[in-house]
Amino acid sequence: MTYTFKIRDQIYKITLEKEDGQLQVEIEGRSIPVDFEKIEDDLYSVLIDGKSVSIGVFRKGKKVQVFIEGELYELEAVSEREQRKTSHIVSGIQEIKSPMPSRVVKILKGEGDEVAPDEGLIVVEAMKMESELKSPIAGKVKNVMVKEGDAVESGAVLLVVSSE
C-alpha cells in the first residue's frame, strides 16, 4: 500500500508491504528495514534499521500528528486523485524549494532541459536520507540556482521550472 503525505509543504511517498509477517518499507524509492509494535492506540515502538524510537501518533481524518523526540510533526495524507488534480492545475512558473536544511547531492536536469510532470530534477540529502525533488509540471528548466555539494537552507529556491 502506498501513502502520500505532505510535511511542511513537501510531498513524500511511502510504501508499506507485509511479507511473511515482515514489514517492508520504501520511502521515495529507498527501502528501509523497519520493525514495529503497536503499544497503545497512539503509541508505536519502531525499530528503524535497528534504531529504537517511541513514536506517538494521532490521526484525525487526513491529518496525522506524529511526536518524535520532543518534536511534533503535522502530516496530511494526500490521495492520488488530489495529487493528479493539483498537477493538472499547476502551471506557469514553479520554484523548486528545499524542504529542509540539506545538501545538494546531484542535479538531474540542467537549464533548458525539457521535463515531464513527476520527473526528477534534483537530489538533496538531509539527515542521511536522500530525496529526489520532482517537477510538478511539464515544461522546461528555466534556472538552476545551486550546484552540487551546496549546503542550502530550508525554503531555498533550487531550480525554477516554467511551463512556457
Binding site: 519502531v46 528503524i48 518534536e71 495524507a77 536520507m129
Partner: protein
C-alpha cells in the same frame, strides 16, 4: 493545624497544594471556573465549588465568590498559589476580616513589596544594593535627565509592572523619547497605571533569587538561591539550584541581604527576593515576590524542605524548628517549564486537546502537572503543561537526566517546547553554565530542529493509516488459557472439570 483549606487557584499549583494538604491530613476545597470543571484540581480535591465564568476576572480573581466558597465549605484558610490573587493586598485583607487565614504574608507586607518603588526604598534603607536609577516614578523630563546621568544603556520599567510588560531597553539618547512613550502606554493598558522609573541596564545579567521562609515570630531563614537566567519574553523557562555562577561567599551574602529585606517588612511565610547579577558577581535587588514561586521545587529538591507545607504550618501558627545552620543543600536540581507553545513562531501559545500523553519517570524525576489524556488546554489561562524537575548529584548529571527525561515525554494534540528544551540541554554554553537572560535571543538556532525526522514520521503516519484500514477486522488476540479453562468449565457444567 487547619482541618480544611481552600485553594484559590487552578492548574498544577492547585494540584501541588492539594497534595501537600492531603499529606498533612487536611481536607481540601477547590474552586473552579466554567472552563475548569474537568480539571484535575477539581477531581483531586475533597470538595469543589463553581465560582464563575472562564475568564480569570469572572472566577479566579473574584474575591467575593472565593471567600463565599470558603465560608460555605467551612475552610479555615485559603492558599492563593501564585498569580491570580496571590499578591493582592485587598484579598489578603478581606480574608483576615472574614476570619479566614490567608496563607501568606500580611496585607501590609504585600502592599509594601507590591509597589516596586516602595520596595526599592525599603531595600535601600536596609543597605541592600540597588541598580543605579531614579528613586521613584519620574516625569518625562526627569527621566531623560536621570538616563543621561547613569549612562546608557538604560531600562525603563513600569512601577506596577511584572512579566516584562511596560519594560523598554534604550541603547542611546535618540531612542529614549519614543521608548518612554511606549513603556507608559503599555503600563497604562496592562496595569492601569503609567508611572515608570529608569535604571541602568546590566549587560549579560543573570537572574538569581533567594528563597526565604519566615515564621510569625520573625525567625527568618534563607533556602539558598535559584538561577532563572533562561527566559523567553522576560518569562522564566528553565530554573536551577544552586547557581553555577556564585561562590559560597556570595551565596551567604545574598542570603543575609534577603533576610534583611524580609525582616524589614516583618515578612511571614515563603517569599522570594529577586536579584540581578553581573558577570563579576555584583548583585542588585530587583523585587520581592510575596508568594510561592513557580520554580520552588528546585529549592525543595536540594534542601529537602517542603516549602508549601511550611507555608501552611506557619499560617497555622507553627514555629520554624530549625536554624540557618541546619539548612544544607545537596546536589543540583533543574526545572523545565513545558508549555503548549510553538518556539518556531516566537513561542505563540498552542491551545488544544491533549490527545495522548506519556510522562517521564524514574529516580530523581518529578513532574508537577495537572494535565492528562483528553484534557483541554484553553486559551483562558497560562499554557504551562507541566514543570519537569530533576535532581542529581552534580549540575552535569542533572542536565543529562533532564535531557533523558524530556526525551521520554510524548504529547500529542498541541505543540510543545519539549524539542527546544532538549536542544538547550545539549547546548555547549548552557552546559558550561555560561548563561544570562539574553541566552535564548542569542541562540535563535535552538528554536527549530536542526534535522527533521521525516523518515520516522512518515513510517509512523503510514502505520497509523494502515492500522485504521485493517480496523474493520480487529486483530483478535488468542484467548488466554484461563479464559479457555473458564469456557470449558462453563460448558461442562461440572464442578470438578
Amino acid at each position: 493545624m487547619f482541618k480544611k483549606v481552600l485553594i484559590a487557584n487552578r492548574g498544577e499549583i492547585a494540584v501541588r497544594i492539594i497534595r501537600a494538604c492531603r499529606d498533612m491530613g487536611i481536607s481540601t476545597v477547590a474552586v473552579y471556573s466554567d472552563a475548569d470543571r474537568r480539571s484535575l484540581h477539581v477531581a483531586l480535591a475533597d470538595e469543589a465549588y463553581h465560582i464563575g465564568g472562564s475568564t480569570p476576572g469572572e472566577s479566579y480573581l473574584n474575591k467575593e465568590k472565593i471567600i463565599g466558597a470558603a465560608k460555605k465549605s467551612g475552610a479555615e484558610a485559603i492558599h492563593p498559589g501564585f498569580g491570580f490573587l496571590s499578591e493582592n493586598e485587598s484579598f489578603a485583607d478581606m480574608c483576615e476580616k472574614s476570619g479566614i487565614v490567608f496563607i501568606g504574608p500580611s496585607p501590609e507586607a504585600i502592599r509594601l513589596m507590591g509597589d516596586k518603588i516602595t520596595a526599592r526604598k525599603i531595600a535601600h534603607d536596609v543597605k541592600v544594593p540597588l541598580v543605579p536609577g531614579s528613586d521613584g516614578a519620574v516625569s518625562d523630563v526627569e527621566a531623560s535627565v536621570i538616563a543621561a546621568e547613569i549612562g546608557y544603556p538604560v531600562m525603563i520599567k513600569a512601577s506596577a509592572g511584572g512579566g516584562g510588560k511596560g519594560m523598554r531597553l534604550v541603547r542611546g539618547k535618540d531612542d529614549f523619547e519614543s521608548s518612554l512613550r511606549m513603556a507608559r502606554s503599555e503600563a497604562r493598558s496592562a496595569f492601569g497605571d503609567d508611572s515608570v522609573f529608569v535604571e541602568r541596564f546590566i549587560e549579560r545579567p543573570r537572574h538569581i533569587e533567594i528563597q526565604i521562609i519566615a515564621d510569625s515570630e520573625g525567625n527568618t531563614l534563607y533556602l539558598f538561591e535559584r538561577e532563572c537566567s533562561i527566559q523567553r519574553r522576560h518569562q522564566k523557562v528553565i530554573e536551577e539550584a544552586p547557581s553555577s555562577a556564585i561562590s559560597s561567599r556570595t551565596r551567604k551574602k545574598m542570603g543575609e541581604v534577603a533576610v534583611r529585606i524580609a525582616k524589614a517588612v516583618k515578612y511571614k511565610g515563603a517569599g522570594t527576593i529577586e536579584f540581578i547579577m553581573d558577570q563579576s558577581q555584583d548583585f542588585y535587588f530587583l523585587e520581592m515576590n510575596t508568594r510561592v514561586q513557580v520554580e520552588h521545587p528546585v529549592t525543595e529538591m536540594i534542601t529537602g524542605f517542603d516549602i508549601v507545607k511550611w507555608m501552611i504550618r506557619i499560617a497555622a501558627g507553627e514555629k520554624l524548628p530549625f536554624k540557618q545552620k541546619n539548612i544544607v543543600m545537596k546536589g543540583h536540581a533543574l526545572e523545565c517549564r513545558v508549555y503548549a507553545e510553538n518556539p518556531e513562531t516566537n513561542f505563540l501559545p498552542s491551545p488544544g486537546v491533549i490527545e495522548y500523553l506519556r510522562t517521564p519517570s524514574g529516580p530523581g524525576i518529578r513532574n508537577d502537572s495537572s494535565i492528562y489524556n483528553g484534557c483541554e488546554i484553553t486559551s483562558y489561562y497560562d499554557p504551562m503543561l507541566s514543570k519537569l524537575i530533576v535532581w542529581a548529584d552534580s549540575r552535569e548529571a542533572a542536565i543529562r537526566k533532564m535531557e533523558s527525561a524530556l526525551r521520554e515525554y510524548i504529547v500529542l494534540g498541541v505543540k510543545t517546547n519539549i524539542g527546544f528544551l532538549i536542544r538547550v540541554m545539549n547546548n555547549d554554553e548552557f552546559r558550561k553554565g555560561k548563561i544570562d537572560t539574553g541566552f535564548i535571543e542569542r541562540h535563535p538556532e535552538l528554536l527549530k530542529p536542526p534535522v527533521l525526522q521525516i523518515e520516522p514520521a512518515l513510517i509512523a503516519a503510514a502505520l497509523s493509516m494502515s492500522s485504521a484500514e485493517s480496523a474493520g477486522q480487529p486483530a483478535q488476540k488468542p484467548a488466554s488459557n484461563w479464559k479457555l479453562f473458564g469456557r470449558r468449565s462453563g460448558v461442562s457444567r461440572s464442578p470438578l472439570a
